[in-house]
Symmetry: C2
Subunit: 467 residues, 2 copies
């Protein structure tokens, strides 16, 4: 056993330094695209233990990869293949430290599972609105390290906007206590937002103070069929005007997305007939279900009158509302059933989405005849999951092997040309690191490198990721 492993055992207990046996759960990413090998998996249970682990790794010049629930989609939380990196798992840092109802804030440790955070808030009669597919296994630390998005961003913002303060172990193994429930604090540089979204490359997030909200009195969901993407965008503007900040969800799904759900999950009832686009609207109301229904029905009526919408269904029960959300959430599953595909998590100014799709749909159809586009996402945030399935009858694996790089080039060129982002909510990690180096303005890249050098001069925190 090396001196480092011996010291790590001393720091966190021998039972929590895993070096032998099957470490695949920590070494393989969720999408099974990255399989690394760790020197050891270390599972500290407190901030002081995290600090000790970081100091030991720094003293030995050993790189360290922080990992939460390991549900990331860009390979940022698994070690490389060298067998020399220590994987620091935060899952034992899982206490809810405090809930402050008067201040609408809670302080939780990094390894708390998102769903547990949501539940703890709800148990206190409050709402923590971050919500995404992996919520049953992702951790809040990972959500913050990657600035996660999800389905409530339109109203509540990304993980960044939901965080009031952080506790971080620096690359030097010092503890920065930046927790606290302040809504205003202009005392120096915004370190909090620098760590949020830094994917474990600047420090290890060990705890966070999160914003809470009053639970809405009622939530009301509807589906609307639109003939085109510009009509979806016009419906969004109308919904924002009429519902104001009570509009908490606005998801769009193209016809092929729901056709795949129909094919692979026929048990899910689809309230509306197939349409070029289907929009899911959600209102969260402080007053009552009746009030929410009134606002939603009136806005859909106006949308029908104006020809923005061809058909619409308002959920009559919580059960129906869940079914509508299931349709939206089932798309990735239906896609997987159809076969491997090429995913893009992109953002655009809402005003440029229709032009982007017009141009890019056509370019893909020309370059890859028969390829099929699964286009859905958080339209209210300008965030599309713009994914390509192989042509019917073509083996997906062959299609991906031959065309993935060329498909990415077409899509990302168009994204940049339309003022968009090549990573809206998934981050960069290993997957998009080279793409970022090519496409980010050199001035920004050189500032990012200067900051990395300033805060982690040894370059030991999650090396080879992001930068």
């Amino acid at each position: 056993m090396t001196a480092l492993l011996y010291a790590l055992r001393g720091a966190v207990g021998a039972a929590h330094v895993l070096g032998d046996g099957d470490l695949a759960a920590w070494e393989t990413d969720w999408r099974k695209r990255y399989r690394g090998r760790a020197l050891a998996v270390v599972r500290p249970a407190s901030t002081a233990e995290v600090a000790a682990v970081v100091r030991l790794c720094a003293a030995h010049g050993t790189a360290l990869v922080p990992q939460g629930g390991n549900t990331g989609l860009v390979g940022a939380s698994v070690p490389d293949a060298s067998g020399t990196q220590v994987l620091l798992s935060t899952t034992r840092l899982n206490r809810v430290r405090a809930i402050d109802t008067d201040n609408l804030a809670m302080t939780v440790e990094a390894g708390c599972v998102l769903q547990a955070v949501q539940q703890a808030a709800r148990d206190a009669g409050l709402l923590f609105p971050l919500s995404l597919a992996a919520e049953g296994s992702c951790t809040i630390g990972g959500n913050l390290a990657t600035n996660a998005g999800g389905t409530q961003v339109l109203r509540y913002g990304n993980a960044r906007e939901l965080c009031l303060g952080l506790e971080v172990v620096t690359a030097q193994g010092e503890v920065w206590d930046g927790l606290g429930g302040l809504r205003k604090d202009n005392t120096g540089y915004d370190l909090r937002d620098l760590f949020i979204g830094s994917e474990g490359t600047l420090g290890v997030i060990t705890a966070a103070t999160l914003k809470l909200f009053p639970l809405p009195a009622a939530t009301m969901t509807a589906l609307a069929a639109c003939a085109s993407l510009p009509r979806c965008v016009a419906l969004l503007a109308l919904a924002r005007e009429r519902a104001g900040p009570t509009l908490t969800g606005f998801e769009a799904m193209n016809g092929f997305s729901l056709a795949l759900v129909r094919r692979h999950l026929p048990q899910l009832r689809q309230p509306l007939a197939p349409a070029p686009w289907t929009v899911l609207l959600e209102l969260s109301d402080a007053e009552s279900a009746a009030h929410a229904r009134g606002v939603l029905e009136a806005l859909l009526e106006t949308a029908l009158e104006r020809g923005l919408v061809d058909d619409a269904a308002v959920a009559e029960s919580i059960e129906q509302s869940r079914t509508m959300w299931h349709l939206r959430e089932a798309i990735p599953l239906a896609q997987a059933e159809e076969g491997p595909n090429i995913k893009h998590d992109i953002a655009l100014p809402v005003s440029r989405i229709a032009a982007f799709c017009d141009a890019t749909d056509a370019a893909l159809a020309r370059a890859f005849p028969g390829s099929r586009l699964v286009n859905f996402g958080h339209l209210g945030d300008g965030n599309l999951h713009y994914n390509l399935q192989a042509p019917e009858g073509v083996a997906p694996a062959d299609f991906l092997r031959e065309h993935e790089a060329a498909v990415n080039a077409v899509v990302y060129d168009a994204v940049v040309a339309h003022g968009g982002s090549i990573s809206a909510e998934h981050g960069i990690g290993a997957l998009k690191r080279d793409e970022l180096a090519r496409r980010k303005p050199p001035v920004a890249l050189s500032m990012m490198r200067a900051i990395k050098q300033a805060l982690d001069p040894q370059g030991l925190l999650n090396p080879g990721r992001l930068l």
Copy 2:
């Protein structure tokens, strides 16, 4: 004329390099606490000219102080007394570059006056919600460089939360184009939020893309009399629960604040009788005035029933609503009429405000008998303007000279003990630099210094401010 001045004239035109004559308007801060002397006042009209000015100063090793509307309250935007610093005024960068209504965004140059930005949004049928006392002369670049707050933070956030992207001239005189109207963009470190609030010490903000919102259909204002601060906090919780995100203002004023307004501005009608605390509530409604009134009246009725409120008045007209806001806005003026005073712009967790005030009011009364507390502010954000007037009959100048440092020590010790911030929305600048060095955790200070060194290794951007 020195070589630098000659070169600056070449870069921006001789008419826009002011070296002789009365430069007091640029050299003296708004509160007249700092009077410096500039080598020259340089007024570039474009981003390229700003970059040229920064490069020239860097080449000559000359420090540079960026200035917008010069309305800051902490001495961050005036040169020191050495006569060696170049003052870079952004006021000629005053174009609205674009308004994108579908994307609810606008791109403006740093020197645009806040009121002009608000008006341009309103002309496009939209709302830019940042609002503060200096809005007629402060610039958006200054608002962002200091992360300004104001009266709408409860609903819309600080300047930080209202900014989607920045254009910045770096310390090396390069232009970082980080503009763009994206709601989601996880492509690397959050440079935007690092520059926001950095008070001109990391780069010069030259333009910004700002978030816009639909104009509310109606705004409704009320005043409520509360017998104690805990009742104000309970009223806030009730208002948040009932009005949800339509609650856009929640300002509290102690009895002495309004007594000073009564004394010095007797022409302002006060709808409610004097009370220990008076709260101003504002709702912004997407539906109608009638709906807003219904919600506001119902919530005040509940508050009366529960004994949180002893009396209340809902504005019956826009005129009455303006009068209510005038009362709140007149407090600083009434204070100035009463004589110089000691100001504190502090933030606390809302849940700690009552305990903080109990303890600190008493400590001040013990240490400075007869001193009079003007306590008012954005209670919904936990932000108090906690200001002390000299005892009646004592010359304010004498009181300040003798006691200001001791008063600050009492207040700031208590703020830190209650988990608060010594600068909620005004920033650090020159005024609170030493206080920050004493009170910020050393780990945070050393990260801030490392970042400053990384981005401005020559230390020429606004030296001696903030850090």
